[in-house]
Symmetry: D2
Subunit: 398 residues, 4 copies
Amino acid sequence: MGINAPLNRKLRMGMVGGGQGSFIGRVHSIAACLDNRAVVTAGALSSNPERSKASAPDYAISEDRAYGSYEDMLDGESKLPDDQRIDFVSITTPNHTHFEVALAAVEAGFNVVCDKPMTFDLAQAEQLAKAVDQSDVIFALSHNYTGYPLIRQAREMIANGDLGEIQAIRSNYIQGWLRTRLEDSDQKQAAWRTDPTKSGAAGCFGDIATHAYNLGRYMTGLLPEQISCHLKTFEPGRKLDDYGTAVIRYENGALGTVTASQISHGRENDVTIEIDGTKGALQWRQENPNEMIVRANGQPHKIYTRDPNAPHTTAGAAAACRLPSGHPEGFFEAFANVYASAFDAMVARAEGGPIERVNTIYPNVNDGVEGMYFIQQCVASSKQDAAWLPLKHERARR
Amino acid sequence: MGINAPLNRKLRMGMVGGGQGSFIGRVHSIAACLDNRAVVTAGALSSNPERSKASAPDYAISEDRAYGSYEDMLDGESKLPDDQRIDFVSITTPNHTHFEVALAAVEAGFNVVCDKPMTFDLAQAEQLAKAVDQSDVIFALSHNYTGYPLIRQAREMIANGDLGEIQAIRSNYIQGWLRTRLEDSDQKQAAWRTDPTKSGAAGCFGDIATHAYNLGRYMTGLLPEQISCHLKTFEPGRKLDDYGTAVIRYENGALGTVTASQISHGRENDVTIEIDGTKGALQWRQENPNEMIVRANGQPHKIYTRDPNAPHTTAGAAAACRLPSGHPEGFFEAFANVYASAFDAMVARAEGGPIERVNTIYPNVNDGVEGMYFIQQCVASSKQDAAWLPLKHERARR
Amino acid sequence: MGINAPLNRKLRMGMVGGGQGSFIGRVHSIAACLDNRAVVTAGALSSNPERSKASAPDYAISEDRAYGSYEDMLDGESKLPDDQRIDFVSITTPNHTHFEVALAAVEAGFNVVCDKPMTFDLAQAEQLAKAVDQSDVIFALSHNYTGYPLIRQAREMIANGDLGEIQAIRSNYIQGWLRTRLEDSDQKQAAWRTDPTKSGAAGCFGDIATHAYNLGRYMTGLLPEQISCHLKTFEPGRKLDDYGTAVIRYENGALGTVTASQISHGRENDVTIEIDGTKGALQWRQENPNEMIVRANGQPHKIYTRDPNAPHTTAGAAAACRLPSGHPEGFFEAFANVYASAFDAMVARAEGGPIERVNTIYPNVNDGVEGMYFIQQCVASSKQDAAWLPLKHERARR
Amino acid sequence: MGINAPLNRKLRMGMVGGGQGSFIGRVHSIAACLDNRAVVTAGALSSNPERSKASAPDYAISEDRAYGSYEDMLDGESKLPDDQRIDFVSITTPNHTHFEVALAAVEAGFNVVCDKPMTFDLAQAEQLAKAVDQSDVIFALSHNYTGYPLIRQAREMIANGDLGEIQAIRSNYIQGWLRTRLEDSDQKQAAWRTDPTKSGAAGCFGDIATHAYNLGRYMTGLLPEQISCHLKTFEPGRKLDDYGTAVIRYENGALGTVTASQISHGRENDVTIEIDGTKGALQWRQENPNEMIVRANGQPHKIYTRDPNAPHTTAGAAAACRLPSGHPEGFFEAFANVYASAFDAMVARAEGGPIERVNTIYPNVNDGVEGMYFIQQCVASSKQDAAWLPLKHERARR
């Protein structure tokens, strides 16, 4: 189990964002530090310099490492000796600011873990990816659902051919919290997520459909060809979509469907995925993530549980477990697995190894480009009456 | 509970189809007779006259009522006195023969319960509907899933406004039994279902997607406007679709999605439906039909069970129950509820009451027209690269 | 599938009980007639002769076969020629009257299907069993849960050694409907079930714990040795137990537990059973009866669904199915399977075959004796502070 | 949400146990540090001084705080100034050593978080409790299941009378990992758990039944009166019980049942609890801990999810959440909640507040005494043929 991975020293983390009232910043810090492989060392926790410094004690960041801005942090840290300088920057600010922070960090030579969506639009994403290419940093994107052990199990089983050729992917992400115009109240999360100047071209599809789509891509590696998308805004006056559905044609002839909602009463974070292959099929649900159902005609349905010790558990899934079976792991642990895989790559880089850019265990900068392309093409297709548009980006994971 | 509905006499049933080896014929006879309100009296059980008569004892049909063809049955029964003649004809033959039998029965003045899809194509369906209009017979279609008590509960709750305005319908029907070319073996069910000369223009979409679509229409009454559909044939050499997905625009702006599969390993008869309204949302699954989840933001999720005695159970749902809660009812009981509602209408007609043609509790001839229109437009849209085509038929239930 | 079992003629059923307001009478008639193998021919439907005759049309019983009492029915039917006389008597009256009706029917040479518990007390049960021994009639008891296909699957798997030696059985039956003193209102079901002069020595344990215990015995065949039981009456003023728990020592060293409740808010008919063997374990729940989970260390958990066509389905389970997998069967179908197995035995008897008395597929008169012994010993143990008392009856199924 | 609780400084943790190969030590360190409120500062990680020091880097413990024994740690830390000394000791060694370490730590004035069972036998537990009484330290016991938000929700709802008077508690803990004689292989966990010199008088009942019993006590506060217990050892040659069942009479007349197993094939950590009250009933399962079903007759069943923002969520449950609903939390987070509640008490103590000893949110030394009493009486009752023995200890939580 990953829990026992030996460590020489803790990696030093520099947080951007995560100040008082932030949700995702706390998640990043908990996930990064869960295995005792990292420690929050420096921070530029808010766009407001004073609030930034005032938030530092919440993370036990010492005063001299509490910066007023990310620029200051990159500057300051760059000047420190190797054995004190932060090892990586975690970007947990609102979407529209990811790009500038990430680009600066990459150009300053820092490894980056960036929240998703990676940038505000595709052009930024492509520019960032080029910068990463030209650097030698590790760049990870927090498509956190890829960190669930059973998702990695599925990915390995599919890569291994256990399901045969993949022909259909059905993935949904159903929420209900934006059923009303929460953004009109004082709800910070709702406000920026429904604001096109902060969130980007899509609302529901940028925030959550990307996860559902990415999950299918991550698990199967199927290359997409075209997409037809239909976005809706059901809450009157809202500026971005809060519901939508997309159909995806994959290069091998497989058919994908992605439906996402923010307006389904009572639904929480209901990410589901079903994958059909010629030899078998599987089904998984985020709200009960320690189980996956695998089926084949003529056999009893099989429930694979998250079980690091079972003979049928793949190596990557076992490595992503911290607890024996039956003791539920959840969202934090999955998030931590994205960090753990990125840490492995950072350590390997530090030790001089080659850097894989495309088919990494952790979601990478190219996945981020693909995500922005997905959003762009969804919005464009929807505006053209669900026309079929290309979806394969040259940087696509394969 | 419907189980105790008083009866003056049993209705007499004339079966067409259902001979040796038939599956759906047996289902119809069990469903029709479950409540002791009907008895199989006559039959033309096979297209082969000898086999037809030889099958009669299986249904305890007496020799003099065992006919060699449906024409003979309609003739023979027409000549019998009122108190002996069959009250209705159940049509359980393969799809391509429904039309001629149904039309003849209607024109001969017999009530009809017809298996679905109603006819081979839309033209036949419209012709049949006109014949029904001009008659005074009751015509019911066995969209059997509409008979589940909780489906009727949902329909009544939605009609009552409990969910507010409906904005999204997601329904799937996922099977796996045609994952291989079963039709090449001696499997009768597979053979006709994949044969365009017997099954009609669509395979998977004609056989099961129609159920998933009909369910949403029946429950919500939302009128459709346009459809975009994408059909696939994954098993090489198969002549009809075995997978597909459709997006539906409803007149009120709601968005629907229907996905159906016959090639998903291990999946059985997995009909699911989720409906989102402005005030509430619900979720139901055929494989566990005695539960429905109803959700509203800020409240615990509610599990409605099939419970004839609960205060929150609607009248129509309670009337569709035969057992107290916790004792599972299933497929036969739902099927029997379609029959029971048709019987109620037949009795009302016999007593001289007016005949409702559109918004009946049982699926009717107009639902059958709509189903054929759905199939036609799905196939046409798919051929035109998933173009948006009209979906609202003038006969649509509302 | 059993649905297609060939029939020469329908068996003729004589009902005792089942008049207006009866629940279980209707269940018996539906179950008996579900497969078209039987028809309700005669009836003594109420202890009140007038109501008895007035109820006859509900079952389409002709006037000349509508009797005013069970004595009249047995007399009248005995005098009819072979080809008109009823083939079996179904007893669906309140518990305290089962004995006299059953004994009279057996002595008159009629096959019997009797509702459970079989008699009012053990002495009656033993007397009845002797009468059956001395007769050549088929006697079946409606422990209806034994009719579920997956229960028969489990029984066959266990008999086949698939689970190894059985070491633990945990079975519960949890209801909530008697949470209040329903018997004080006009609720007929509650009234007799809580009345010691009608129900016998136990309330909850006589009504439902017997099912939970019987299920374990039926599935495993393990012979019991001793029982320790603790009964409670939680509703003040109620005369019989409404909650209780028992521990059972089996001869082979296995340990059983049975807990039953009628006072658990909102619980419906929640019969569950878990069985642990040295090679495997299984779990089943009546409210979702088409699934059974089978587990073995080091393997994925397996969901066996009710599937007549699956290679892993045992012969007896397949024979008990009427529908393909995924189309839910429920309570009626299970009940009908008890009838179907009894019918098979009646036909075999009529054809002159030997009569099995102990290890029958359907629950028999000896199971009834065992049930009454279970109730007697539970009540006695509970009165003696949960003392260990013997539980093995010489007539026990093995 | 607890995640944002403000902190002045991190609490300093001194670990005993947790060296290479330890499972529970890692769990304690992750749980303690999850919220950034504590840091592992010192450690005596193994009974072997060399291994103890060699393990220190795994926890990023600096060399000068890596001790060779717990005595050295207590000594060394006592001599440090206030602003460097550890704030609490976490004891994660095998059961038989808890007592001596805990007593020494308490007597040296350190707060303690001790793994359960608290001691080797009842006498030790009572002696330790006296020492705690005479000290002013906080003593918490890691009955970690009490940390699940929905368990705290249930506890608050019950305390609030939402379920009425509690009348029945059914709790089980079913595992399968000791189905074979794992202890004969090189499995460290199995070896000490089945060794009476290390584990104490009970095996399965000491290891896991105590959790199931404690959960009911914690949630309801019902005081026990008597217990009757039946232990079994199904694996030949094993020295301690691997299966058992107990019946508990509570003072208010309620009835409890506890069944635990280590030999149920394929079962993982299946802790379940059902509680029946006069006004409502609830049901919870550890393997799906973010849901609790609450039922009342005549109402839909309600699924309470872990939801810090729902109006129906109690204050204590909301405070125990780190994530919005639908993002699963699990075992670590529950464990961390026990630590968090203990930290709150430590901080309150440091600020001079009074110390609650009995009805704390975190399980305390008196719960530990009760647990040891439970084990003692279970073993004694089982030896006396399941005789009823007293179960109420004077230190019992109420």
